[in-house]
Structure formats: structure tokens, C-alpha cells
Amino acid sequence: MIQTVAWITSLFFMLMVAAVFGVVALKSKERKDYEPIKKKWYKARTFYGISLVVLMLVLTIYTLRELPYNQPVYGQGKDPTIVDVEALQFGWNISQTSFKVGEPIEFDVTSADVNHGFGIYDEDMNLIAQTQAMPEYVNKVYITFDEPGTYEVLCLEYCGLAHHLMIATLEVTE
């Protein structure tokens, strides 16, 4: 799950940052000349800077391979089910809410009034996909449900006092 990967990655690097600051704080009471420190650590910085750039490049390339914006390549004769979604204060008009496992779906999402957010949650209440629901524009979400169950649509953009009550359900069967 992406959230878990994101959380662990963040935690790891945050602890690294904490460790570095901790070590420097511990070593701060000692007093040494600045010039040699500068010389040594400028050299280290070049190495550190380059490693960081390389790491970021690798991550960028790796994470940009597959973007949620791209229409997936569908198998022959397997056109996606197009579902029209219209958000409004405060509810959802969804043209179809029952789906089959393995059925490729394209949600075409828009709004009748203000900005809303179209977020799809699985049965364990993990967010699995989202896009913005915007007046005058249509944003698309491509999804194929792998598991049967009741999925929920939650509003993910603040839209007024009943923002947290904008919930709809989607049924996915075998």
C-alpha cells in the first residue's frame, strides 16, 4: 500500500535528520578551529549533494513511470465503463454505482457548484484514488476494482458546512 511506503520512507528520513542534528548538538560544546572543519565538510557536502541529486533523480524516474492521469491500455474489445460523476452541495450524482471485479472503469468527475474532491475508499477505509471535482471541468479517474465489497466516496475538498457528510457508496461484486 502506497500510504505505508510513504509513511515508512518519511519516518526513515526524518529519523536520519534527527540523528544528524542530534550528533551535531552533542558535538557542539567542543571547540575547534573553523577552517579545517569547513574544508573537510565542504568536501563531504559535494559528495552528499551529488548523492542526494542522484537519489532524487532515481526516485523521480521510478515514480513517474506510471501516472494516474494516463488512460490505461485496455485489452481488445474491453472498453472501460464510463461513469459520470457530478458533485454538488452536498451529495453525489453518480450515473452507475454497481460494478464487477476486474471491470475497467473511467469516472468522469465534475461539479455543479463549488470545488469538491472525489475520493474512493476501500472497505478498510484506505483512500485508493481521487481527483478534484470542479465546476466547468471534467477530471478523470481510471480504476479497476480487484476486490468485491462496498466502497465509499468521500468528499476531499472543503466545500461548505456539510463537507464531511458528502458520502456515497459503490458496490463491487464478483
Binding site: E66, Q130, Y158
Partner: protein, 492 residues
């Protein structure tokens, strides 16, 4: 002598800025705690009240921190360029008028669009608030923005007068090799130039979209392109919120060298880093729009790439520089130096979850979850605001004979741990897919909110102690110290 006396008198305006800023931050924390208690199921709060609190907390925190950040910048920048005190005072006046209008709009007229006032929500509230509330808020924000805009124009003018152009304020002639590194503009000038450039842009975008909203509220038949409005809103919000830390960091550049007796000079790499920050800060607001697939795809991909790159100047230059200057320096730790060091830690750790969230595939499942407040409470609450607190202790030490006590030191530790608690609670919530800006939570999501609320109480108490110290300083300096001149002391 004359010069020093003038500076001392300017200090009282600076101190007023800081006292207002820090007090508002403390008060806004109470609204933050109340929101978390409501989300945690501990407190029964009407949705209308919750969203009013959300609006006032977001607006108040950003406004107060920006005000205090401006005071930090002004305090140091006046040593290098000739700033207008009148305009600095005018900004405070405009801000106070703006703040009062915002408060009346939110609490008397139930206006609650959140601080991002995303078009067309101000006009289309489903009857939750009316035209008057919306106008009070939007015009209040406009007044606030105009005050800041005037101040940055004055800062820009002063820098251009002294250095020739804003490009030279960023040290471009040193980068290109026309001028020697030794003649580079000081770090404070470089940072102030950067902030001037980005915030004049941000405030122009903000004023434009505020006026669009105001017209739409007065006459709903005048409509605008919602995607354009969204771009302008996030350009304003992202840049303006981020600029706070770039003003705050001036305190780091100025204070750490004094405490360690080590110079922190702008060299070529430093200048390149700041030019990078300037341009990235201007364009990476698109990472707020990664879930708008109608945006040109190349813009969104650049949004990810440049957001990553925007981490480099901090991680490789500023944070690294702060660590190097402290390492084996024999630094004297006190409230000011301690807070300043912690603020660099806060900024740096806050970069991590921000970069993670700027990754499009991650953003797809974390955008608008509580992960987002998680990362910015870290770098605002543990970064920007702590720079300001650190500066407040620096100023009170520099400008009076007031001593700190045990309470201050306990507050420092308490504050650090509690903001880690608040932000950590948000991050865990985000990892659990909890949506942000939800007045109520499902039971599974309540735990981290309650934890955050308890941490928040400690943070608010700590800030109270910081503010009490600062108010005591202001009283001491107003009382018998008139005429007694404190020289710039070497602290190390």
C-alpha cells in the same frame, strides 16, 4: 550614538509586531486544539463552529507568522539598506484593520471558506453565510495584502537603491563572475530580495483572485474561470506561506554566527541556492493541483520534479550550513541559540513528508488527507514559528537586561516535543487516509486527533511562556532603560 538611539526606538515597533504575532499564534493554537478535540470525538462542536475555527486558525496563523517574520527581516535588513519606518508602521496598521475585518466576518457573520477561499465557495455557501460575511473576510484579506505589498515594495526599493537591482540583491553579478565573492551581498539582503520577489508576485496573484471573488460575491452573474482562480489561489497561498520561513531564516543567518563566532558568508554556491529557491518557490505551487488532471500534464510533472529540487537548497546549503557552523563551535546554548537550532531541525524534517507528498503517485492517495497539515505543521510550527520565537529571545537579550529562567527552558523542550506530537498525529492520520478539513471523524480516525489535541495543549502553554517573557522584556525596556544605550554586544 544617534544611530543607536534611533534603532532602539525602532525596536519598539518591531517588538509590537512580534508581540502581536506571537500572541495571535498562541491564541490560534486554542482553536487548533478545539478542532482536534472535535475530530477526536471528545468535544461536541457544531460543523459551523468547526469550520469557522478552521478558517480563523488558518488565516490567523499564516497572517500572524507573516507579520512576525516581517519584523525579523526588518530588524536585520535595516542594518544594510535604508528602510522606511513609516511604511513598516503602515503595514502593521493595515494588518490590524484586516485582522479585525476577518474576525468580524468569521465570528459575527459565520463566514467559513477556510483560508484558501477557493472560488466560487465565498459566493456559494449553500446559505451558511451571506454577502456581508464574505465581503468582510475578502476585503479584510485584501487590506492585509495591500499592507504587505507596500512593505515589500519599500524593501525592494531600498535594495535596488543600495545594490542596483534585485538581481544584484540576489548576487547574480557574483554568480556570473563579474564581482568577487568577497563583495557578495550579505545573506540577509539575499534572503530579503528573494522574499520581495516571490511575495510581490504572490500578493499580486492573491489580490487578483480576491477581487474576482469580491465581484462574484456582489454580483453572482459575473463568473470567472474556476481553474484560473484555483491557480491564482494556490500561487498566492503556497508562496505567501512559504515566504515566512525565508524571512525567519534571516534570524538563523544573523544569530548563529554571533553565538559561534564563525562567519556565515554568502558565497557563490549559497547565491545559486537562493536563486534556485526564488524560482522554484514561484512555480511549484502546481503541486497543490496534482489531482486536477485537466491541468497540462507537463505542468504537473514539473510540479513533482521542481518540488523535489526545491528541497535541495535547504538540505544541501542552509541546513548543512547551520550544522557546520554549530559543529564543534563551543557555542553557548541559551534560549535564542537553542530555538534557532531547533528551527533548522524543524524546517529540515518538514521537508521530508512534503517531498514525499509531492510525488504524483503518492499524492493520488494522500492529497487532502491530514498528511498535508502534518508536513506543514512541522515546518511552520517547528520551523518558521520557532525562528520567530528564537529571535524574540535574542532581541530581549540584546536590547534589555532581562534574564531567562527555568520556565523558559522547560517551555523550549515542551514546545519541541509537543509540536512533534501534533505533526506526528497529523502524519499518522494521513497515513490512515483521514481526510483533512473534516468536522467529524470515523471512530478509527479519532485516536491520533486526541493525541494531537493533548500535545497541542502543551504547545499552547509553552507559547504562553515565550510570550510572557517577551512582554516582560517590553515592559522592562519601556520602564527605566530609556537613555541607557545597549551596545551591540558580542555574545560569544
Amino acid at each position: 550614538m544617534e544611530m543607536i538611539r534611533k534603532k532602539r526606538s525602532d525596536n519598539s515597533l518591531i517588538a509590537t509586531y512580534l508581540a502581536i504575532g506571537a500572541t495571535v499564534v498562541g491564541v490560534m493554537m486554542i482553536f487548533g486544539i478545539l478542532m482536534l478535540l472535535a475530530q477526536g470525538g471528545v468535544l461536541e462542536l457544531q460543523p459551523a463552529a468547526f469550520y469557522q475555527f478552521l478558517t480563523i486558525h488558518g488565516t490567523g496563523m499564516i497572517g500572524a507568522a507573516a507579520l512576525a517574520g516581517a519584523a525579523v527581516m526588518w530588524y536585520f535588513l535595516r542594518n544594510y539598506v535604508d528602510l522606511s519606518k513609516k511604511i513598516f508602521g503602515l503595514n502593521l496598521l493595515f494588518s490590524l484593520i484586516g485582522i479585525v475585518m476577518v474576525i468580524i466576518g468569521v465570528f459575527s457573520f459565520e463566514y467559513a471558506s477556510s483560508w484558501t477561499f477557493l472560488y466560487p465557495l465565498p459566493a456559494l455557501s449553500a446559505n451558511a453565510w451571506g454577502t456581508i460575511g464574505a465581503l468582510l473576510y475578502l476585503v479584510g484579506m485584501l487590506v492585509l495584502g495591500v499592507g504587505f505589498l507596500l512593505m515589500y515594495i519599500d524593501v525592494g526599493r531600498a535594495i535596488i537603491k543600495k545594490y542596483g537591482s534585485l538581481g544584484k540583491g540576489l548576487g547574480w553579478d557574483v554568480i556570473s563572475g563579474k564581482k568577487a565573492e568577497a563583495d557578495a551581498p550579505p545573506a540577509t539582503v539575499v534572503a530579503s530580495t528573494m522574499v520581495t520577489i516571490v511575495n510581490v508576485t504572490a500578493l499580486t496573484a492573491g489580490a487578483t483572485v480576491l477581487i474576482m471573488n469580491i465581484i462574484n460575491v456582489i454580483n453572482p452573474s459575473f463568473t470567472f474561470d474556476p481553474l484560473l482562480a484555483k491557480n491564482l489561489t494556490y500561487a498566492f497561498g503556497h508562496i505567501f506561506a512559504n515566504s515566512i520561513i525565508y524571512m525567519g531564516v534571516i534570524a538563523v543567518y544573523e544569530i548563529l554566527p554571533r553565538y559561534t563566532n564563525r562567519p556565515w558568508k554568502a558565497n557563490r554556491i549559497f547565491l545559486i541556492a537562493w536563486t534556485m529557491s526564488t524560482s522554484f518557490t514561484l512555480v511549484i505551487y502546481t503541486h497543490h493541483m496534482l489531482m486536477d488532471s485537466v491541468m497540462p500534464k507537463w505542468m504537473l510533472i514539473m510540479g513533482q520534479i521542481l518540488s523535489y529540487a526545491n528541497g535541495l537548497p535547504v538540505l544541501v546549503i542552509t541546513a548543512y550550513g547551520a550544522l557546520m557552523i554549530v559543529y564543534k563551535s563551543g557555542i553557548k546554548w541559551d534560549m535564542a541559540s537553542g530555538l534557532i537550532f531547533i528551527s533548522m531541525f524543524g524546517w529540515t524534517v518538514g521537508v521530508v513528508p512534503a517531498i514525499v507528498d509531492a510525488t504524483i503517485v503518492v499524492n493520488h492517495v494522500m492529497h487532502n488527507t491530514k498528511w498535508v497539515p502534518g508536513h506543514f505543521h512541522m515546518y511552520m510550527g517547528l520551523g518558521a514559528v520557532v525562528m520567530i520565537f528564537g529571535f524574540m529571545y535574542f532581541l530581549s537579550k540584546e536590547d534589555s537586561s532581562l534574564k531567562t529562567n527555568l520556565f523558559d527552558r522547560i517551555a523550549l523542550i515542551c514546545y519541541t516535543l509537543s509540536i512533534i506530537g501534533v505533526s506526528g498525529g497529523f502524519l499518522v492520520s494521513g497515513a490512515l487516509s483521514t481526510p483533512r478539513r473534516w468536522a467529524t471523524h470515523f471512530p478509527d480516525w479519532m485516536g491520533p486527533a486526541v493525541f494531537g489535541a493533548v500535545s497541542g495543549v502543551l504547545a499552547a502553554i509553552s507559547v504562553t511562556i515565550f510570550v510572557i517573557h517577551f512582554i516582560r522584556y517590553m515592559m522592562v525596556r519601556n520602564k527605566g532603560n530609556e537613555g541607557k544605550v545597549f551596545h551591540e554586544r558580542k555574545l560569544a
